[in-house]
């Protein structure tokens, strides 16, 4: 873990609680490392054809175990959102207000939660088209944010 990467508003992730750091594990190392390369990597089930995020050992749609990694388009639609105006934990305490959304990826079955640091809170709405952006966090992981697609 390097502290060379600085989050928004000048608060280093190293100054943030450890639970806010990416924690690549056996299931999702490919996701975090893909994001570091600028690719949104998700799983697709070879049995039912649906996609899933977060990465798991089995398909959460049909329960089968044969999954492949694909690079998603990065395009998604806001399913719902909130504007976080109070958060006591750095770096978020310095960043409020900001939008967090649950977005449905264009790839069927996959949903993600993400920050949308570039989206004006007043412009946030359900149904907004958004695109993934990658924000380096460590040497081998990046956060996936979303921003308005147009």
């Amino acid at each position: 873990m390097t502290d060379a990467f600085v989050a928004h508003n000048g608060v280093s992730w190293a100054e943030s609680p450890k639970y806010l750091w990416p924690r690549p594990n056996n299931d999702d190392r490919e996701f975090w490392e893909g994001a570091r390369r600028g690719e949104l990597r998700i799983q697709r089930c070879l049995s039912c054809g649906k996609h899933q995020h977060y990465p798991r050992f089995l398909c959460s749609h049909c329960g089968k175990g044969e999954l492949e990694w694909i690079t998603a388009s990065g395009l998604a639609t806001i399913y719902s959102f909130t504007v976080v105006r109070q958060n006591g934990v750095p770096p978020f305490s310095e960043r409020v207000p900001f939008v967090v959304a649950v977005v449905d990826l264009d790839e069927d079955g996959a949903r993600m939660i993400a920050a949308l640091p570039k989206l004006d809170p007043d412009a946030a709405r359900v149904g907004l088209r958004v695109r993934a952006e990658f924000r380096p966090a460590t040497d081998d992981a990046a956060f996936v944010d979303f921003a308005p697609a147009e």
Partner: protein, 390 residues
């Protein structure tokens, strides 16, 4: 032959602010008061349930209280844990495994940790590693309040639910709190007060959120046969069911429908009732939206029409309304020591005994206690009545 099961003792600790009592003091105090209420002795308690403190707390609590129970339960589903405990205790007593069970919870949340629960860490965690999907939620900066806010936002988008309708839940709950001397906040509240309070996470304002308090609660269940020998008119457990749809809010497939849509109909069917039979509702009001969505899921209002149900006729949650709800002032105004599920069962029992004083629902025969845990993640419904299912 299944045995009938009754709530025979309820105890509330001091509250809502108790800087001189530890969490386990609050548990012990409410336990002692429930024993006294029931007219039972320590040696009568054969089973113990508790949750909220991680591994083996119910074992530590048994030791602390001087119990050596042969039935233990620690389902940890957040705020609904105690409705799950009641369901499991109901089954165990019904089946004849054990006769008498105490369910206990207490926390000095306010005095020990302040008001940081809802906004103190990503998704409300922050107390350590909640792995898997929470590893994605926390770095987004979402708070516990924000998770509920996102669900409320979706409901507003889909059904046109308004901030005023959500606010009305808080306003009506405050009216109940005004009659409860142990409530945290008792001054009258208006819709404008709620809407002009600061937004914590859109669309939820400060007064859409429950309070943080100290407090403990205990209920004791036993067989109908034993209950007939005890101090109070028995309150029967008529039905119970639970379920879950997700852990982190990102995995909630439909943010306008909770597992209450499954637990409610199942519990009501077992209890032999319909929503129209319910005289009083004790609902885990972590946020105004929690109440609104569960009112719909339990069938008190059609899906999408919870907002209208809340405000119709001058307010259906008031005394005299179609469904008096959280008559002790709820979590929104009265008591919320980290988790509130057990307090719901206590208030429902008080109502069915006719002991609710100025807040009594006249002639209440059927009450529903419904717990919601996590981030709308877990739901459990318990139907109580003055008479058994026949």
């Amino acid at each position: 032959m299944k045995r009938r099961v009754c709530v025979v003792g309820v105890g509330l600790s001091d509250g809502p602010v108790t800087p001189d009592l530890s969490a386990i003091n609050l548990e012990a105090q409410s336990f002692r008061r429930a024993l006294d209420d029931a007219g039972l002795e320590l040696s009568d308690i054969e089973g113990l349930a508790s949750a909220g403190y991680g591994g083996m707390h119910e074992v530590q609590l048994a030791e602390y209280l001087g119990l050596t129970p042969r039935w233990l339960e620690s389902s940890s589903t957040g705020g609904s844990s105690f409705e799950f405990h009641t369901m499991h205790a109901f089954r165990a007593i019904e089946a004849g495994d054990v006769d008498t069970i105490a369910i206990v919870y207490g926390n000095n949340q306010l005095s020990a940790s302040g008001r940081t629960l809802g906004t103190g860490g990503g998704g409300g965690g922050g107390r350590g590693a909640l792995p898997l999907s929470m590893g994605y939620e926390f770095p987004s900066g979402l708070t516990l309040v924000g998770a509920y806010a996102m669900a409320a936002q979706r409901h507003m988008h889909q059904f046109g639910t308004t901030p005023e309708q959500l606010a009305s839940i808080s306003v009506q709950t405050r009216e109940h709190a005004a009659r409860n001397p142990n409530a945290m906040y008792r001054d009258p509240l208006t819709i404008d007060d709620v809407l002009s309070s600061r937004l914590v996470a859109d669309p939820l304002h400060k007064f859409d959120c429950c309070v943080i308090s100290d407090g403990g609660c205990c209920i004791i269940l036993t067989t109908e046969e034993r209950a007939r020998e005890l101090a109070h008119k028995p309150v029967y457990v008529r039905g119970a069911a639970g379920g879950t749809t997700h852990h982190s809010i990102q995995a909630m497939a439909d943010m306008t429908r909770t597992a209450a849509a499954v637990s409610g109909p199942k519990a009501f069917a077992e209890a032999g009732i319909t929503p129209a039979d319910v005289d009083m509702f004790a609902m885990y009001d972590s946020f105004t939206y929690t109440v609104l969505v569960v009112l719909e899921d339990l069938g008190f209002a059609p899906k999408g029409e919870g907002g209208g149900f809340v405000t119709d006729g001058g307010g259906n949650l008031r005394l005299g309304g179609a469904l008096p709800t959280n008559t002790d002032g709820g979590g929104l105004s009265a008591t919320h020591p980290g988790m509130r599920g057990l307090f719901l069962l206590c208030e429902a029992t008080r109502q069915l005994r006719g002991e609710a004083g100025d807040s009594q629902v006249p002639g209440a025969e059927i009450a529903v206690a419904h717990g919601s845990g996590g981030w709308l993640s877990t739901q459990a419904t318990v139907v109580l009545g003055t008479e058994p299912v026949t």
